[in-house]
Subunit: 415 residues, 2 copies
């Protein structure tokens, strides 16, 4: 029940135990093509170039950036958590001139703030994470596509932490490049990075391929520079996944099986239905945590559905509570990075773990562990609040109001 | 039965269906540490930095190169097949000044040829593939370590196509960096790249980390340049796999399980015993193919145990034979790349498929398909030759000599 990776859906693991087929076996290339179609539905896009990068979600980010960024390009990175810093770091390694704007952790940017920075820095690319798991915040992206188009900016986002747990629409929101990973709401293991690229992004990437192929000698004006990576050369990866089937790396067959199954299950459930499931169980977890007397971190109106951060109460050892939950109850929760390290716990309700039983089990166990840590917890207060939330969601009668409101734990510790 | 990827060992696939654990769960970090130890045995090394790169074998190559090569560095690449060209291509993308020597496909280099090129080009790094699957040749490496030490050259090899099917000794041969993949003799799926780095290579890589960390401002003389990739930054990956456990990417848990099981099975069998198994079944396949009247491609004295290339007989459609084998018999064999495309078939006997039953079944089926393609094949000639080879290996009585030697297929076609 941490911020991910979490338990994989058993059906994904079963799919990954299927025997391998050859790299160019018609069954294999058919799986690849089918996977492209499934991820178009997950990303809500018509983009032809919708495929997998063979590596973790970070590999997807680097493939998008190294293939689109030419050394010296200006890239604007709005940073509102750790993974914004990662985008900045990777853009710098690609040789970009990176401009950063920062929002306090636990908040997001307004579209106006981002447009002002675009006007000021005139970037070629806007690179922003959708959900930054480190703060649990989701940056609204729906108005940024139009702003990027107006200023002729390539619009890139990473949705590893948010996809399938929060509304996301690649085409409607005007995205040019989107990367993701399996280990959050997609309910799979880390190691495959679904990604999609608009025609504009594909043109940019392919313009850099033509140099490599030796077009330079034909007297064309050279404006593009070769892509610095072979493994992450999207122009080559497009040709591998496309009708040309030009050999590149040897596709990671088992991860392909897993990625395909993650998407198949989501499409079967319905993408909107999956988001709604995350909203419901995430809401129950949040109310349950509040019921236990914990204080929610960050701007709740921009929180992702699938992960909730709460302040660790004064006097309680965050690591000791996490250790006892893991060792004695078999339940993992996380802390966070940088300024939030040791200050908050992050509790996920995502993918296969976005379920009523996992929410109630976690709240039950956390109550016990908090009590043993010396907190004056009202018995049943977390589980009751979650039940109340579920009841209000289903339109049924809400249980009687909790007779005693748990005082803030920070004030009630008897250590 | 192609040149890889081939069928994975079912035990590897079962290991990959295990449920995930958290990134810093003590069970997970223990698996990582255990995997390092297992691969030290597979590579025959004492190198502390023996770990997995999260991507296909090509990712391992790029991680080694981008972390060791600084722009402008001279790199010597002896090329004797397609994958030598890949090393050249990746080194160029890293900004190296690449020097190439080429051997005719189907041959390898003498140590003297490589030393002469080292003396002439004075490279920082010698990068050479051990086995080049495109030609089935294995470059002898055992004398190159001493040559590299004498000339202060970093010695790097990729053993994806050869490891565990052919003798390899990282430390005894003086290797500084070695990368591999699972999809050949390791009997796993593509998607994880085991790799090992000597103290000298680690020092080189870590010298480039210190610049990033801001040492530059302390007035030290700057000789190193930052690593261009984040995902493939070995300095960060060392700190992730090491005692510091500094967060980098989210380890690909399922691929880790698979990689660990591949190594565990090899260690259980014995590395030398696994090589011997590949030698035996590869030898039976080679003799069986010759028994069918096919001509072996390349220098047999330097052929890898685990893959055999044979010329496609004149008048026979290589693709039609491969298609019939796959569609009607469920057996895949390969062709090759570049100058060998459509001229040879490549037939593997590796990993889980290095077995007597797979050898005999493949020879049986190939006999039938060749006959239907119009070849005048002597019934049973391939299987008999394989049986004879097995009998000679076991010291038992060799079957009576084949009464009729199959004439070369090229001469006997009745199309």
């Amino acid at each position: 029940m941490g911020p991910g990776p979490i338990n994989a859906d058993p059906r994904v693991l079963r799919a990954m135990s299927a025997q391998l087929v050859g790299q160019y076996d018609p069954a294999m290339t058919a799986y690849m093509t089918e996977t492209m179609g499934l991820y178009r539905q997950v990303f809500k896009t018509q983009n032809e170039q919708t495929l997998l990068i063979d590596g973790t979600s970070r590999a997807g980010i680097e493939a998008a950036m190294v293939s689109m960024i030419e050394p010296g390009d200006r890239v604007l990175v709005p940073v509102f958590g750790r993974f914004g810093h990662l985008l900045r770091e990777i853009a710098e390694r690609c040789g970009a001139e990176v401009h950063v704007i920062e929002a306090e952790w636990g908040t997001v940017f307004t579209p106006e703030q981002i447009e002002a920075a675009i006007i000021q820095t005139q970037p070629k690319i806007l690179a922003v994470v959708h959900g930054d798991t480190s703060t649990t915040m989701a940056q609204p992206l729906d108005e940024l596509g139009a702003i990027c188009r107006a200023h002729d900016v390539i619009f890139y986002t990473d949705v590893t932490a948010s996809l399938a747990g929060n509304t996301f629409e690649a085409d409607a929101w005007g995205l040019d490049a989107v990367t993701a990973g399996l280990q959050k709401c997609l309910a799979g293991p880390s190691g495959s990075a679904p990604a999609t690229f608009s025609a504009k992004a594909v043109d940019l990437v392919n313009s850099r391929k033509s140099i490599e192929a030796g077009i330079r000698s034909e007297g064309d004006e050279v404006t593009a520079t070769p892509i610095r990576s072979n493994y992450f050369d999207l122009a080559m990866i497009f040709d591998y996944w496309g009708v040309k089937r030009l050999n590149h790396h040897t596709e990671a067959t088992t991860m392909l099986y897993g990625s395909r199954e993650c998407a198949r299950l989501l499409v079967e459930e319905g993408i909107d239905e999956a988001v709604e499931r995350h909203r419901m169980h995430g809401g129950a977890m949040l109310e349950g945590l509040r019921g236990l007397g914990l204080t929610i971190f960050g701007d709740e109106s921009h929180k992702m559905n699938n992960v909730t951060a709460v302040f660790i109460p004064d006097g309680v050892s965050g690591d000791a509570v996490r250790g006892e939950l893991l060792d004695d109850f078999g339940i993992e929760i996380g802390t966070s990075f940088g300024p939030l390290h040791g200050k908050v716990w992050r509790i996920g309700t995502m993918g296969y773990n976005a379920r009523k039983d996992t929410v109630l089990t976690t709240l039950s166990a956390l109550e016990q562990v908090l009590r043993r840590a010396g907190a004056n917890v009202v018995g049943g207060s977390g589980v009751r609040a979650a039940y109340d939330f579920y009841a209000s969601e289903s339109g049924g009668p809400v249980a009687a109001a909790t007779p005693e409101v748990a005082p803030a734990l920070a004030e009630s510790l008897a250590l």
